[in-house]
């Protein structure tokens, strides 16, 4: 998809999302879901950036998110840093961990990278719950029950009136999507694609696989960690339950629906997935069954997600749109 079309699509999505509070502003439940949609849309976009564009099978996205959330909560509590700064510090910490995780991954291939990054996810829970975590102030298995709410210029965002926080998150999500767009559009994105298509030729043209792969780890884990921070200060509570398989699968479904490597598909995917998940909620145990069935069917029927479907419809008229 060319950049003009992505920009247009982004503008369209965010405009629609921006007016949603006019309809749902009074219903906390829906506003809350919308805020979660915004958060997941950024996290999923980051995942898409690293997996879809850079072609690195990183499965550590949820782990980075949780790290960022804990880091921000702990920093703001222990060093009394205002949350609005703490989230960036948390992003920085997560980025540093992202680079550390990225280093061994440079040498590895597809499924191994998936394993190493997923290993980070698996280790995180015992670490956060165990002695190390408790020493850092994670509250062990009880989790953190009091996290300072976000406040800017004396205004405190509370969950009781979510509309202001919705707009704050919208601003953050717009900024993140612009960052991702700029990255895709800039030489970074070109480097990712070139490395993904033909690493040999790309490196022989001077593209440093090392540098750009580490950068994508750093960037995506920074943004993801930062979103974790925003999440923590919004919800006000944290536990290692986030590391359950549910969230991981939800993010995967977002990508399946949105389309891998089809930015801004992940954003659309996030809104659809979270909405469908809520709609299916009354079905109780049939909800995950339906979600699972949907993934299976969608991968077969709509392998490039919704954006891929649009593209296919477009490219029939307009030749030459490769994936």
């Amino acid at each position: 998809m060319d950049h003009k079309r992505i920009t247009f699509l982004l503008a369209l999505i965010w405009t629609i999302v921006a007016v949603l509070p006019l309809f749902f502003g009074g219903t906390n439940f829906i506003m809350h879901i919308l805020i979660m949609c915004l958060i997941w849309s950024v996290v999923a976009s980051c995942w898409d950036l690293i997996m879809g564009f850079a072609g690195i099978f990183s499965f550590g996205q949820v782990a980075f998110f949780v790290m960022g959330a804990y880091a921000s909560a702990i920093i703001s509590a222990q060093f009394s840093i205002p949350p609005i700064f703490a989230v960036f510090v948390a992003g920085g910490i997560t980025a540093a961990i992202g680079i550390l995780v990225g280093l061994p991954c440079l040498k590895l291939k597809g499924a191994y990278i998936a394993l190493v990054t997923f290993a980070v996810h698996m280790i995180l829970e015992p670490v956060l719950k165990g002695d190390i975590g408790r020493a850092m102030g994670t509250g062990g298995s009880r989790g953190l029950l009091t996290i300072e709410p976000m406040h800017i210029f004396g205004y405190t965002f509370t969950t009781a009136s979510p509309v202001p926080y919705f707009y704050l998150m919208l601003l953050v999500a717009v900024l993140c999507s612009v960052i991702i767009l700029v990255v895709i559009k800039s030489h970074w994105g070109t480097a990712f694609l070139a490395l993904k298509d033909s690493q040999e030729f790309a490196t022989c043209l001077g593209v440093s696989a090392f540098k750009y792969k580490l950068r994508v780890f750093a960037l995506t884990s920074f943004l993801t960690g930062m979103m974790g921070g925003f999440y923590a200060h919004y919800v006000g509570m944290l536990s290692t339950r986030m590391l359950g398989i549910d969230l991981f699968v939800t993010l995967m479904v977002i990508l399946v629906i949105g389309g891998v490597g089809k930015f801004p598909g992940a954003i659309i995917g996030a809104f659809i997935t979270i909405a469908v998940n809520e709609l299916l909620s009354p079905l109780g145990p049939y909800r995950p069954i339906t979600m699972g069935a949907m993934v299976v069917i969608l991968v077969l029927v709509l392998p490039d997600g919704i954006v891929g479907l649009f593209e296919r419809l477009f490219s029939k008229k307009q030749h030459g749109m490769t994936h």
């Binding site: 165990g130 298995s141 919800v235 509570m237």
Partner: protein, 407 residues
């Protein structure tokens, strides 16, 4: 396969709007419980009690002449934002007049539902939930805990262990708990108590859920030969595998399972094999024989409806609904949430075993007519042998020295 899935999907989509239709003029009751994921079974226990209470009220003509209508919400794994979503959905979106939860998230729930006014009944059994409550008693006045905290429950377990008519061969204890909030709360309290009484806690192990290879730990236990082993993992798989592997070469130890004796599978799977195990249930309806005729009637009714004896939480959740209904009758307006909450807090509720009184932290403290019951599995059935506090033997039931202890 594809076709079948497609049909399923269509069915689901077709069913969706149907769930959104509610009959008019009912009182809506929120029921946020785990319907999927690892806590499904505990969610089920609570639901059975809640459903029984609601059906009872409805068949008796409803509350203030209106039928009760439960609105369920799947809390999944109690991720913080999920708990919040539940509160926003049930209280914010639907506008229910009371919420009956079970295990709902160790304090996250207090926050989430405290924002609203509808009376909220939870079975957290957690000191951290009480701590959150104490931060703002006015704001959280609609929150009611149906059971005592883990600290007090653990204290009670210790009291009973010390009161058993049995002479311990040594003063060595082993504590194994799950690495969750409940497990650590119980484990830490027990360790403190043991140490105060001059016992040696030779091993205090946290284990992750899903542990079912106990070889390495049992190896250590066999060396220690403790007088008491306390296991606190509220998941049948773990405690059964532990027991079976322990029984291959048992030590002369009393096996205390605390709250982890109560998942229905434990006794149902093992039957008489489980004889000798100790455990406890807070806010309990002692079995097999209830303390009062009303309670006995309730027990029998539960068994007729669901086909088995009540599990931990069923009766507590049932009583929560009844307590709220009593208060609503007294206040005369289900929408006056504050008045209903105040009524419950000051007047309590008279249940099958006697009076329920919430303390100033809105916790149903163990004792009086609603004590913690301590059980031993005897002949394949959970038999209440003690109640606490105060620690006293229950009816004529006797503690039996487990068969694996060689004296």
């Amino acid at each position: 396969m594809k076709k079948a899935l497609g049909i399923l999907l269509i069915l689901v989509l077709a069913l969706m709007p149907a769930t959104g239709l509610w009959a008019k003029d009912t009182i809506k009751v929120g029921v946020p419980l785990a319907m999927t994921g690892p806590y499904t079974d505990t969610g089920d226990n609570y639901w059975k009690g809640i459903k029984m209470a609601i059906d009872e009220i409805n068949t008796a003509g409803g509350l203030l002449g209106k039928q009760l209508e439960p609105i369920r919400f799947d809390t999944q794994e109690f991720a913080p934002e999920r708990v919040m979503q539940g509160a926003d959905y049930l209280c914010g979106q639907i506008g229910v007049d009371s919420v009956h939860a079970g295990w709902a998230g160790w304090g996250q729930d207090v926050r989430a539902y405290g924002k609203y006014t509808a009376p909220f009944f939870a079975d957290d059994g957690s000191q951290s939930a009480v701590d959150v409550f104490k931060q703002n008693k006015e704001e959280y006045k609609n929150i009611f805990q149906l059971t005592d905290t883990g600290i007090n429950q653990a204290q009670s377990m210790f009291n009973v262990l010390m009161a058993l008519p049995y002479e311990y061969p040594n003063k060595k204890a082993v504590i194994i708990t799950a690495d969750d909030a409940w497990g650590t709360e119980v484990g830490d309290t027990l360790e403190k108590n043991f140490k105060e009484k001059g016992w040696d806690v030779a091993m205090h192990e946290l284990v992750p859920y899903g542990t079912n290879q106990w070889g390495p730990l049992l190896t250590k236990i066999r060396r220690i030969k403790p007088a008491i082993i306390h296991v606190e993992i509220v998941s049948a798989q773990e405690v059964i595998t532990f027991f079976r592997q322990f029984m291959k070469r048992p030590t002369n130890s009393i096996l205390s399972y605390g709250y982890s004796l109560v998942p229905r599978e434990v006794v149902e799977t093992m039957g008489k094999e489980a004889d000798g195990l100790l455990g406890e249930v807070p806010t309990a309806m002692p079995t097999p024989e209830a303390p009062t005729p009303e309670a006995q009637a309730w027990l029998e009714k539960f068994e007729t409806i669901w086909g088995h004896l009540p599990q931990a939480g069923s009766w507590a959740a049932y009583s929560g609904v009844k307590a709220w209904a009593t208060a609503v009758e007294a206040v005369g307006d289900e929408k006056n949430h504050d008045a209903v909450s105040d009524y419950i807090a000051t007047n309590g509720y008279k249940g099958e075993t006697g009076w329920w009184k919430w303390d100033e932290d809105h916790v149903m403290r163990a004792g009086g007519d609603v004590p913690i019951a301590h059980y031993q599995v005897q002949d394949g059935v959970m038999v209440a042998i003690f109640t606490d506090p105060p620690t006293k033997p229950y009816k004529d039931y006797q503690f039996q020295v487990p068969r694996w202890i060689k004296q």
